[in-house]
């Protein structure tokens, strides 16, 4: 008899300890909301900031602790997989989120009164009063919590919920830029509409897979691949639609359209968070779905992802060349990088091969994450009257006005281009190497050709910064706040250190990937 009561036949068990990093982040987010409700306005920021940072640092410590304990199993009734990759991704996301929050903490990035019509008297008043939405902190925490849950979820429902928990705050955060409000709102709307569209696809895919397997548990779907017959239509349609949803989230072509708009319109610190954290989380989820649930179907989806990878790389690299806005360019570059990462996703094989691919992806994500956060941090510092100086022409001659800043930005660009002795090189290597080992040489060749194309637009920016004359009314370089300076320094240091001595992180990624995903 199917009754509601029968569903909960026994009291479930939840491993609070293993989930503690996530719980801490979510808990802090809730406390943050409470602070919003109860604390007087002038105190809010000074309460929110420590809560946010400390909780994330705490979560990071807990993650490390879990890692040293060697936890590797599915917690919470098999709903959340706390395994090597999860822990690694958590750590990476938390670190990057901490860095991003330092950036977010910077004043005057966010709107004073989101509900006020841009340019209205209301807005002026809110600005004059020094109003600020301290809600961004809890929102960021929710988003980060979602990012942590997304790649760790071991069934599709949790994954869907996590996807939304991650995305919804980001939709809102996108629309909160202080300057260029219209642009920002538009970005938020586009992100929202397309994001919701894609999650509907994800959900429909989930439904079809549920129809196929009778369960949304990844392991159960995996098992059903061998036991269930005669439902191929459901299976393939399900895989296709779920794939669309996931590919959208990582911004792979042909589902990349949102990325440039959103990256450009969002407040830059949020862009940094998205470009690093969301990408990591989405890749974790993509891997989990395709490797764990659909691992035995790889002959079917590999060719498709092959095509997607190639298309993504080409679209990212080619369209980036035509961009004139720095944030859009970085967005397209992010698309190209997504393509490179996809190369490793299809490079499956035996267990050792999978582990190598996985560790490559993990390492790449970390290196890319740091470089990208750093790059966007630099972007926040180049200002002109109407906000950040987005247009590339405004960057001309920056190397002469501020050699250090331009030098650091050039470093990040070189890392994106994958020049040796920057982190990006080893990232690329870590991804290409397993791909070659698994026989995807053609894909790798496309990869290197497009990286050469990608290098062109990175180099173009360097050319602009260093080799052209600064215009007289060039943008001002904002004196970095402590936070921004710290972010830039940290990211640059990470880029260099990982470029010269990547071994520790590689080891970590390797040991995280060794056990692969729990099933």
């Amino acid at each position: 008899m199917s009754t509601l009561a029968a569903a909960a036949a026994e009291a479930p068990k939840i491993e609070y300890g293993e989930l503690s990093p996530m719980l801490l982040v979510f808990g802090a987010a809730i406390v943050g909301v409470l602070v919003e409700a109860l604390a007087p306005r002038y105190l809010r920021k000074s309460i929110q900031m420590p809560i946010t940072i400390l909780s994330m640092v705490g979560a990071f410590v807990l993650t490390v602790w879990q890692g040293t304990k060697g936890v590797r199993h599915a917690a919470a009734m098999g709903a959340v997989a706390v395994d090597g990759p999860s822990l690694f991704i958590w750590g990476a996301i938390l670190l990057l989120a901490i860095v991003s929050v330092l950036l977010i903490n910077d004043d005057d990035q966010f709107v004073a009164q989101a509900a006020a019509v841009p340019g209205s008297a209301e807005e002026d008043q809110a600005i004059a009063e020094g109003g600020a939405h301290t809600e961004i902190y809890p929102l960021v925490l929710f988003a980060v919590g979602g990012m942590m849950l997304f790649p760790a979820s071991n069934d599709l429902l949790i994954m869907f919920v996590a996807l939304e928990v991650m995305s919804l705050p980001l939709y809102l955060l996108c629309g909160l830029a202080r300057r260029r409000r219209l642009l920002s709102q538009e970005a938020a709307m586009k992100y929202f509409l397309l994001g919701a569209f894609s999650s509907a696809f994800f959900l429909y895919g989930t439904a079809l897979l549920y129809g196929f397997a009778g369960s949304v548990d990844l392991a159960a779907i995996d098992k059903a691949l061998t036991t269930v017959g005669g439902k191929d239509t459901l299976l393939f349609l399900g895989v296709a639609t779920i794939g669309v949803g996931l590919l959208f989230k990582i911004g792979a072509a042909p589902f990349q359209a949102w990325k440039p708009d959103v990256y450009q319109g969002s407040p830059t610190p949020i862009t940094a968070l998205m470009a690093s954290g969301t990408l990591i989380a989405a890749f974790g989820a993509l891997l989990r779905v395709f490797w764990v649930a659909l691992g035995n179907l790889d002959t079917e989806w590999t060719p498709v992802l092959w095509g997607v990878a190639i298309l993504t790389m080409i679209v990212g690299a080619v369209l980036a060349i035509t961009q004139t806005d720095i944030k859009r360019m970085l967005a397209y570059s992010s698309i190209a990088h997504t393509g490179f990462l996809l190369i490793a996703v299809v490079s499956t094989g035996k267990e050792a091969q999978n582990a190598a691919s996985l560790s490559g992806i993990l390492f790449y994500l970390v290196t890319y994450g740091f470089a990208t956060v750093g790059a966007f941090a630099v972007v926040t510092m180049i200002r002109e009257a109407g906000g950040e100086a987005g247009h590339l022409s405004r960057w001309a001659g920056l190397g002469k006005r501020s050699p250090v800043l331009a030098g650091i930005f050039a470093l990040f660009l070189l890392a994106f281009a994958g020049i040796p002795l920057t982190s990006g090189f080893f990232g690329k290597y870590a991804v290409f190497a397993p791909a070659v080992a698994s026989g995807n040489v053609a894909l790798v060749i496309v990869g290197v050709v497009t990286s050469a194309m990608a290098a062109f637009f990175y180099v173009r920016v360097i050319v602009l910064m260093f080799f052209s004359e600064p215009s007289a009314d060039g943008p001002t370089i904002a004196l970095p706040s402590m936070g921004t300076a710290a972010v830039v320094t940290l990211a640059a240091a990470a880029t260099v250190v990982l470029g010269v001595f990547p071994q520790p992180v590689l080891d970590l990624a390797h040991s995280a990937a060794q056990s692969l995903f729990v099933r």
């Binding site: 008899m1 009754t3 509601l4 009561a5 109860l38």
Partner: protein, 450 residues
Amino acid sequence: MRALLADPAGPTLADFGKDPLWISIIKAVFIFVFLMLGVLFGVWTERKLISRMQHRYGPNRAGKFGLLQSVADGLKMGLKEDILPRTVDKVVYILAPVIIAVPAFLSYSIIPFGPVVSMFGHRTPLQLTDLPVAVLVVLAMASIGVYGIVLAGWGSRSPYAVLGGLRSTAQVISYEIAMGLSFVAVFLFAGTLSTSEIVAKQASGATWHLGSLDIPLPSWYAILLIPSFLIYVITMLGETNRVPFDLPEGEGELVGGFHTEYSSSLKFAMFMLAEYVNIFTVSGLCITLFLGGWRAPWPISLWDGANAGWWPMLWFFLKLVLVFGFFVWVRASLPRIRYDQLMAFGWKILIPLNLGWILVVATVRATQIEGANKTLVMVIAALVVVGCLAIYFRFDTVAQRRREARAAEAEAEFERLRDEPTAGGFPVPALDLPHYHGVNGRKEVPSGTN
């Protein structure tokens, strides 16, 4: 199943879904007729009762005691010209009354009228159907009914109707939350959402083992869970837009509310019908969930045959009449409250109260569970209480401060603007102007003199 029949606790979920189609039809028709007649005589009862309370006669022309007054009204409406205002959105306008009426009837399908009886040789429960989620059906139907209200207001394309519709919607959904929450405690005790099983659970009171004491608990949830019951009763009034919560059609401010444009004909009758059917529905639900359902109340229940056969329908009907009487009583006694008070009452008092009460009930239940970690439960309870109190006091002080500040501000504003017609103040001559009451300032002048 045979064993269940012998059980005086009445039918369970397993007894449903076995009826042949014709029995279902009979039941459905019965419910329909019951409700239609109920509405007709309900209206009459209400008018009669109120007039009695107000020392009037009430309807007394049509039929004996005016019994046929409602019938006459209904017929009149059916015969009146159906007016379709020019500006309305026709589809919506016509659809709205249907949408509002149908769900009202549907809810009744899960109200149990009595135990298993023999109907033309078939053994069948006196209830159209039952579901594991029966109570949810009622809530769902209520929600669909809301669409009717919104669409009626919207389709009319008239400001009063729109505002009335919106207000009514806001009110209904607000009170629906409190209503839904008030059920939770019942389900905690009953362990089911099935109406027939909830009735069965109220057959006999449980005992509460507190230490060595065995405290017998009352069997009716209305007594056992008084707060839930009270909240339900309040929301019941709000949910059906009855006095004192009949803001949506508040004649004083909104003409007829959402059905302003439905000036005549059976469409208007549909709204009336739906309102009364809804009253019966919530009353029936009230009886089922809190007042022991069709079971006979205490003195009658001493008679063994009271809860068997067709008798329980009588008890149910009596209870229904009483609850309906309560509606009328309230209508006759209470004034209509202000809209912001209404919303504040629903959101700021009923809901938190309800949530707190649910936690209390849950904690108590948890202590009763075998093998439960009592200390943990107590610690949680203590934490919850402390937390609630802390938040309450914080809120209270803040609210107090804000109230005072607002009062002071208003006072200051008033002081400032009192005498300035230009600033929007009313041009009132100073009360101590000499020409008023003589030169010596204010002096009380007895009326009738001068």
